[in-house]
Structure formats: C-alpha cells, structure tokens
Symmetry: D3
Subunit: 240 residues, 6 copies
Amino acid sequence: MHLRVILPVLGDSLVEAVRAEVAHWAAPGTRFDVVTLARGTASIESEYDEALAGPGILERVAEAVEDGVDGVFVDCFGDPAVPAAREIAGFPVVGGFEPAVLTALSLGERVGVLTVLPNVVPMLRSLARRHGVETRLGAIEVVNVPVLGLDGEGEALVELLAARGREAVARGQADVLVLGCTGMLGVAEAVRARLADGGAPVPVVDPTAAAVTWLERAHRLGLRPSRTTYLEPPAKHRVP
Amino acid sequence: MHLRVILPVLGDSLVEAVRAEVAHWAAPGTRFDVVTLARGTASIESEYDEALAGPGILERVAEAVEDGVDGVFVDCFGDPAVPAAREIAGFPVVGGFEPAVLTALSLGERVGVLTVLPNVVPMLRSLARRHGVETRLGAIEVVNVPVLGLDGEGEALVELLAARGREAVARGQADVLVLGCTGMLGVAEAVRARLADGGAPVPVVDPTAAAVTWLERAHRLGLRPSRTTYLEPPAKHRVP
Amino acid sequence: MHLRVILPVLGDSLVEAVRAEVAHWAAPGTRFDVVTLARGTASIESEYDEALAGPGILERVAEAVEDGVDGVFVDCFGDPAVPAAREIAGFPVVGGFEPAVLTALSLGERVGVLTVLPNVVPMLRSLARRHGVETRLGAIEVVNVPVLGLDGEGEALVELLAARGREAVARGQADVLVLGCTGMLGVAEAVRARLADGGAPVPVVDPTAAAVTWLERAHRLGLRPSRTTYLEPPAKHRVP
Amino acid sequence: MHLRVILPVLGDSLVEAVRAEVAHWAAPGTRFDVVTLARGTASIESEYDEALAGPGILERVAEAVEDGVDGVFVDCFGDPAVPAAREIAGFPVVGGFEPAVLTALSLGERVGVLTVLPNVVPMLRSLARRHGVETRLGAIEVVNVPVLGLDGEGEALVELLAARGREAVARGQADVLVLGCTGMLGVAEAVRARLADGGAPVPVVDPTAAAVTWLERAHRLGLRPSRTTYLEPPAKHRVP
Amino acid sequence: MHLRVILPVLGDSLVEAVRAEVAHWAAPGTRFDVVTLARGTASIESEYDEALAGPGILERVAEAVEDGVDGVFVDCFGDPAVPAAREIAGFPVVGGFEPAVLTALSLGERVGVLTVLPNVVPMLRSLARRHGVETRLGAIEVVNVPVLGLDGEGEALVELLAARGREAVARGQADVLVLGCTGMLGVAEAVRARLADGGAPVPVVDPTAAAVTWLERAHRLGLRPSRTTYLEPPAKHRVP
Amino acid sequence: MHLRVILPVLGDSLVEAVRAEVAHWAAPGTRFDVVTLARGTASIESEYDEALAGPGILERVAEAVEDGVDGVFVDCFGDPAVPAAREIAGFPVVGGFEPAVLTALSLGERVGVLTVLPNVVPMLRSLARRHGVETRLGAIEVVNVPVLGLDGEGEALVELLAARGREAVARGQADVLVLGCTGMLGVAEAVRARLADGGAPVPVVDPTAAAVTWLERAHRLGLRPSRTTYLEPPAKHRVP
C-alpha cells in the first residue's frame, strides 16, 4: 500500500519526527512519503490557519491522485480539507480527529480530548457535532502549549497531559482519552502509563497511529468514500 | 453602517445582480461594496470549491478589517470560511446559511431547504449538525441547476423551486423554506406566492436578504462574535 | 412600521422604562405603543403566572390585529402565549427568549442565560428543548432578585449579573450570555464591559433589543409565520 | 383516593361521556368528580384554545387544592396548564399526553399518535421535544374530524383511526399507537382489534385510561412533583 | 392479577425481604409469587453478571407463560433480559429501570440515580441512551456498597443515599431521584424525608414499587408489548 | 497476533465458511481459531436468542483469557455479550455491529443497514442509540431470509441485498451500506458492484471483515477497553 502523509504546514521542521512516528505504526507492506505545503501556515491552531491551509492541502491531494497512492493522511487533528479531499480522491482520506474519535468510541463510554490551546476547543466541539457523536464527547482539556512548542516539552508534556487527563477522569468526564493534536508525537503510551499509576486506568489514543492504521485497514477492506456523499466537484474555472 | 459583501467567486459576472439585490434589502443608512476573489473558483458547489475559496475570502476579510467596515457578508449559502473570518474580525461576519436558518426557526416547525445540486446536500446536513439545529431540519430538495445556470432560468426557476417546495410541504417535511443558494436572486417572493396558490402557505427565506439585514441588526445591537469561541489566531509564519 | 409592545403584566409601573428602552432600540421609521394587561399578574416568574397571563395577552393581540399593526413583541423572556398569538396574527410575533437565543447562536458556541429566580430555570430548559437548541444551551444562572426588584438595583444588578456570568464563562459553560428577563433593562452593555474587564470577553444579548429589532427585520423581509405550523384556530364558542 | 377531573372546556355536553369513561378505568377505591370551566373554549384544538383555557383550569386546580383532592387530571391531550398546576398543587397533576406517551415508551420502539386536526400536530411535536423523547416519536396522523364531531362518529371513527394507524405501522413509523385526543372515548380496544386483524399487531393507548391510572399509581406510591422543578410561584398581585 | 417476581439471583437470602416489599406495594387484588434462578449469579453488579443471568431468567419467564401469569417483574434495576422476555411473553414484562425512570420523567426536570457501585454506571448511561431519554438524565451517584451489603446498612444506607442525593440536587443535576438498585428496599421514603429536611425537596422513586404498580396498571389497561417491536423468536434448535 | 473467533451458535455447520472468510481478511501475521458454543441457539435472530447465548459466549471468552489470546470477535451482528466480555477480558472484544458501523461513519453521511428479518430491526435501532450514533443511522432494510437460509442463496441473495440497498439509496436514506448479519458471507463486493452498476455508488461494509481487521488494528495500537467503563466484575457465587 502506498500512503501519502500530507503535513499541512510550511517548513520541514516537523517532517523527521512525523516520518519516524509513521514508520513506527505503519505495517510492513506500507510504503509512505511525507509532504508539506507550499502555501499555508507554520502550524494549525485556529479556524483561520485551517482555512489558509485548504488549497495547499488540496494541491497535495491532487498530486496524490496523479501518483496513484492508496490513501492520504492529512496530518492535523482538525481534519482540515478532509471532506473536500474525499470529493476529488477515489481513495480513503482521513485527518486526525475522525479515526481517533471513532476508535475511542469502541473503548469507553465518554471520550475526553487533550489538546494544545483554548483556540481549538470550539473547533473540536463543532467537529463532534458535525460527526453526530457529541453525546459521547466528554471533557476537552488544554495544556496551553502551542503546537510548535510541543516538541521541546518531552517529559514535562507527558506530565501536563497526564494531569489534565487525570482531572477529566476523576470528574467522570472521560473514560478514554484522545490526544487532540497530531504534534503530540510518541507520548501516548507514557501518558497512559502515568494515568494508570495515578488510578485512572483509561486508554490513550494517538491520532497519528489511529490515522495511519485506519487507512491501511480501509485499503485492505477495499472501502472508498461514498459517491452519494462525496460527489465529484462540477468542472469550472479555478484559480488556486 | 459600512457593509462589505464578499462574493467568494472569480469573475464579476454576478456582481451587478448581487449589488442590485443587496441594495434592495439594505437599510437607507447602509453603505456597502461588493468584492470578488483574486483566487478561488467560478462558483461554489462542493466542499472542494469551498476549501479553495478560503484564503481568497480571508484576504478580503483582512482588507475589510483594514478598511474599518462594520460587517461582512460572505455571499455563499455554505458559510465558507465564516468561523475563520470571525477569528480575525472584531465585527460580525455571516454567510448565507446561518442567518437564513436561524430566521426560519422562528417561522415554523420544520425548515426545508431548496438548493442547486445533490453535491451540496451533505454539506448542508453537516452544517445543520454543526450548528446543533438538525432536529428542526426537514427536507433538502435539489433543482438540479448549477449555480451559474440559475441566472438564465427566471420563471422556470420559480416553477422548479415551487414544485420541489410543494412536495416537501405535502410530505410534512417543511413548514418554512429557505432558498439554499445565494445565487437564487430575487425569486423568493414569487416562489412564496406560487406555493400559497398551490395550497402550501409557508414563508420563503431569501439568504441574501436574511444575511444583509442580520448584519445591520447585529451592528445596531453592538453585538460582536464571542472571543471565547472565536479567539484571535496565534501569530505565526504564513504563506497565503 | 407599527409595532405593538404587550407588556404582559398588570399595572403601569414598568411602562415608562419599557417605552424608553424600546425607543432606544427601535429604528427611526418604527412607530410603537406599549400596552399592559387588564387581566394577568403583576410580574411573570413561574409557569403559573405565565398561564394566568395568556388570555390577557391574546386580548391585546386581537386588538393589535384590528389595529393593523405590523408586529407584536410580548415583552417577557418566557415567550408567553407566543405560539397562540401566531395562530391568530398574520404578522410576526415574538417574546424575549426566541430572538435573543437565536441571535446568540450566531455569536458563540455555548449560550448562557442570566435570569432572576430559580423558579424559571426549568421553564427555560423546557423552552430550549421545545426549540430544539438544547445542545447549545450552557449554564442558566440566577441572581435571586425578583422581577419587580430589578428596577431598584442599578449598579448592584450589573455587578451581580457580571459575577454570575464570569463564573459560567470560567467553567466553560457560556461563550455568549443572554439576559434572561426583559426587566433587566439597559444593563447589557455595562455587564459586557464588566465581563470584558474581568477576562471574560463575551457578548451580552439584551432580549428587548433583540426582540424589537427582530420584528423590524422580519417586517422588512416580509416574513410571516408559517400557516402549516400556526394554523388559524377553528371557530368555536369561547368565554375569555 | 379523591381524583378531580378537569374537563378544560365550556359546557357540559361531554361530561357524561367522560364520567362513564373515568368510571370504567378508575380503581374501586377511587372517588372522582368531573368539572368544566367557567372561562375557556368549547374545545381545544389549537395553541390559542389552550392559552385561553389556562386561567379557567388553574381556578379549578386551586379549588381542588382547597378540597384536598389527591390528584388532578386535566382532561385534554395537549397537557394545558399542567406545569403551572404542579406549581400550585402539592399533589400529582397530569394531562393526556405525558402519561400516555411515557406508557407507550415501554411498549414498543416508535410511538405513533393518531389525532384530530392538522392544527395540533406542531403542538404535539413541541411537547415531545419539551419532554426530551422526540427520538422515539414516530408518525403523527390526523383523521380530520374536529373534537366536537368525534362523538357522533362511532364505528366510522374506529375505521378512520385504524386506517391511519395501519399506514403508520406499514411505513415503519409506529410500533405502538397513542390516541391523541381525550375526546376519542372508548374506541382504543376496537382500534387495536381492527389493527391486529389487519396485520398491525400494536398496542393502542387511550389517554384517559392512561391518565386516570397514572394518578392512582402516583398516589399509591406517594410521589409528588419535584419542588426544585415546580417551585411555588412567588406571591404577587393577580387579576385572573 | 397474577404477578410473577423473578429475582434474578441465586439463593433465597433476599426472597423474604422482596416478598415483604412487593406485598407492601401490591394492590389488594394482586396475587404474586417470587422465584429465584437455578443458574445465574449471587447478585447483579456488572454487564457480566447480567449476561450470565439471561437464560436463568428466560427459563423462569417461560414457566410464567405456562402458568398463565399476567405480568413479570425481573427484579433488578438493569432490566436484564427484559426485551428478550417480551418476545416470548404475551403479557407485560418490566425490570427496575424503565418503570422507575419513566415515572420520574413526570415528576421533575432532571432525573438523578443513586446506585451501588461504579461498575454499573456505564450500564445505566447505556440504558438511558437505549431508551432515548438521555437528555433528561442527570447525575448518577454511587454509594460504594455492594448489593449484598445493602441489607445490613439500614440507617447508614439512608444517610449515604441522602448525602449523595443532596449533592446532586445542589449541583443542579437532579430534580427527582431514582434508587438505582432494587436491593435498596424500604428506604425511599426515609431518604426523601432526609433530603427534604436538608433543603432538597425532591421525590425519590423506589424501583420495586414503581415496577409492581407499573405492571398492575398495564394489566388493568390491557396493554401488551408491541408485536412489531417484540416479534416472536423464530423456532430453532436451542440448548439453554 | 492470536485472534479467537467465537461463533455464538450451536453446531459446526457454519464453521468452515467462517474460517474461510476470516482467513480471507486476516493479516499474514494473524493466527486464529473459530469456536462455537456448548450452550446457546442454532442462530441469533432475536433478543431472546441473544440472551440465551450469553453464558455460552462468556465461557468461551473466559477460555480465551486463559489461552492468552490477543482479541476476540463475537461473530454476530448484534454484538451479543460484548460489554460483558470486555469486563472480564483485558484485550479488545468486538461483535459485528460496532466495528462495521463506526467504519461506515467515515465513509458517508447516512449509514443504511441490510439485514435478515424484521425481528432484529428494533435491536439494531436500540444498538445505534446505545452507541449514541442514531442521528447518522438511515434505513434498516430486511431481505426476509433467516440466518440459516442465507448460505444457500448465493446470487439470489446478492440480488435481494442490492435491491433493498438501491431503494434505501434512492430514498436518500443510505450513503453507505452495512451488511447487518455476519452470516452474509462473501457477498459485500458483489453487492457493491451491483449497486454501482445500478446508479448507487456507495460502499458496502462486511461486518466480518470489519471486525477482524478492527481487532488486528487495536492490537497493533496496544489499545484495550477502558477500566473506568468496563470494570472487573466483583467476585461472587456464580452458577453458569
């Protein structure tokens, strides 16, 4: 299977870390490449950033179509441009939110989300309603670290995430936690262990891992987006 | 009040008709201008078109901020880039869906929508869920005319819309109808009259009229978007 | 436009304040008069009061129909007798809840309500469910001041409202606040300013202002209640 | 137990039929009386009629309080003035909708309602949403017979109700039917039998029977309305 | 009426207490017997226990069918095997949850539940969603006493339940309380009185009382489960 | 990975077909075995059958725990005993409904289900509500073939399924279809192709394929059921 990871930001500073993480989760038979955007923003932390990234993402999706890939991961928790991408791709496309949250639904009653900044909380509530799963959504907690600051946090980030998660579990507002930013790389297992030690035995879903394996599975199952939901866009004049 | 209408498409073919319609509905004290996009698509009929239009719209919103306008109407029923625009604007911003549907909620039990192509139906269902009003949403009917073909339809369009609306009312799936494309200019009253004659006495909401007057009213009330929902985007490197 | 304000209480003690407030918000071309009830209660703070006010309100609505007015504002937050009034009026009729809450939906994610007494909290939850918008309803906070005591509170009332609002915002249960009693006259802007100073930058919707301008707008748009939802009552013997 | 039946209409033409029906369903130890209104309407078929009946009903409820009754049935399907009555009564009060629909929820997946005129359909949808049970509500079908015409229909009414019910069951929109007017006296069993013969083996709930026995049961269980939901109305000047 | 109480546990240690409680609530004309299981568990405190009890319960239901009883109470709050029992019984069958919660819906805005162990909280949330009444469900509080320990608690149990209930009411998450275990025998009235003394004037619903009287009422009303929801199971080879 | 497939029926007649299907979908590194029940029913087509199968399934789950397997597929669409199994297993357990429906949610707007008999339709609606995804559930269509008759149908079954699916898509009540019985083995792709040819270009999800790959993925991700939702059952006397 050929998987294209579209990291929907400018610059390559995150590429190596993403490549390592995807490599960690991808199945042996999966070939993948990671691309970034020519137009967009340095990170996505608002509806504004997300909208700016749209054409840059779709440019990369169009290339993926030409390259004959089997699936695309738009590597951002807010699922930017995902419905649009499905309209032009015959193959599965996911962002970070949908595969992680749908996975979490099978693991526990209330799905809590741990994310970066207050800015994205309303976006995530909107996404949950858009998908029709808001009655299962529990707390959304923020660690108040910007996306580009996540990298340097290491152990401190694990502690912050575990602390916020523990509170949500204690208040009865989370039975399973989802890391709500695809930049929180490689910490899910450490957060889970810390929570278990602290009396909060809940699974922690890493959105990158969830997305990569979601696409591999969809590919194996031969499932493609519905053409009565994601119809091909009518042809017209476009200036991207 | 200074109102900026952003027609989120390429080319000026629709500008005069929009200007006339806005002039028809705007209050005496309202000054307005209509701008189109430098980048985007000739019309918006899919999630894809909508995503491509994002940066072009936000460019115009940023100009509106600099020009000190009092409100922005993103003149498309799908509310493209509206949450993003609210993050960077201190003033009210609406698209076509939200003011028309919220208005319709006060007029009847079930809100039906008459729109252009099957492509946009899932977008509209998603929007209704995103706003949390899906239990009041009734039928979404399509006339199967593309946006750019609406203009030449005239009387035939009125008949098509009235026919689809009549069916939705007869099945008990609409008590109030919303025209689901801002390109259906100047036909609402004729559709309403045709429906009333045909035994379906329901109001018909024109999204352009609804949006322009929604903004004027918000201005008069001094209401601006919440800064706990629409936080200012964190500063960062951007290549639009 | 001719607007009739029905203050659904006995006695004229509030009339001047209401007149001033409506005058403050009404458009230049709007003519209005304020009437009170011959039968009803001194204030509305329960389902009981609301039910007692019904026939008195409908009497005034019938007069408004005869007088050929263009819209009626039943000046109470609980929307007493509003569906009934729509059945007998061909023109728009609103109370305080519906225009304020629908307006608030366009301003932020969660709508909080600041109201007078615990007695009305269940009524407001019921109203939100009745309108199908309960997933967007956040906290309902009470200041524990009866309606007829609001008048003398002045600055103290502003402080109380801001304090309750600040708590709701801090708990993440309000992104926009609605004043949940039409007797909280003329304080919305002061409450908003106090909240902004206190780190809670959220809009505050005044129900009187929202209602008056909602009706003016409906009139301009030529929108009337749906006759498949609000059918004319069948003729019959009545002893009001 | 002492039960007061408030038939919320003018005139005594329905009293004997109601008395017979209540006597049929009441337990041996239940004593009851039937009263009508001094003010109100000849029948209730709209929000307007319902609002006009409010004070007349509450007058009778106040008498019931003085008379020391143990429960009140407001004998109309739309539950007129029921929340208000609970505020002033320490004992259980129900209308026709709530006990019939809550009973139906335990009998089958989708609750269909058979009612009189299109006028009341939106009222019933609103009631279902108000009670938070709208996901279980199926079809609402009308027989187009006014309340005061039900009496003379006899066998024809049974046939009409069975025909509408059969259609709702066949479309998969009803697994249990509720007679949606308390004036449809004594026909539930015949409708059920007719439906069973016609291949629609669903229970049919009579609202009068449901209400009378609901109150008897509440009395036996010693259950009274919550005083945090139905608080006593604050004292004030009232002109009923 | 002949009522069969199926206490879905092994051993007779609870039988006498159940018999006394049922006798306390049953109407004079009701004859009842209490049976326990030949296969199952000593108490039901998990989905696991509930699943193990299934065939043992259905065995007793089949006997009840043969014995020609008029109704079955599966005496456990989680409603174990109730939908299955309805498929094979022509008569009404209830557990503890459904009659208690539907009754509570008519008494107050938010239904709180007081139950035994954290283990059953997710089961109860699932049940509320299954019945479609989750928007009315408030807090679920646990006393952390296992079912088989309830018996010896007496006054201490009343105090525990009242304390948990008081907190839920104070937080605005309960207006009516349901005892969430049918083993909390004979304490409802004492809990209610304690709560009223402590400023929380809310009704308390005993699930045994609610169930017994629900069945008596269904019998009197001649209501049986819908055969389009609870169809007879197709014949086949079975090894129970 | 070691996967245990529990075919929750008596007799081995379906084992070979299941084994072939699982082998078809399982990843190279997956080892699996298929077991049937010692107690239960010949097929599961009702709540009754499902309840009877409970202890037999849990017996097999307990063996799976002892055998140290990595995941269990309870091979029936109704997810029998799945929550109970999660309580006693530390590893992932799924039935047919949950993985298929969660997968379908990512493929299109409305999820339609094609199933065997009318008997199971209410079970599936209940399951959708239990999972909180009912707003995305579209039509449930039945082919009226019992589970044990599916095997011999071959091409006729494909045609039946495609016909029912086509109707649901045409009515706008399905954008993605789920085969609603795990006995519909090996037909999903043929149904999809038939639908595409007939103008209904929607994906078709096979529940066996969805479940097997869901478990493999959960294993790879190291995700286990939440212990705050699925707590270990308290120890007690049990007679299975």
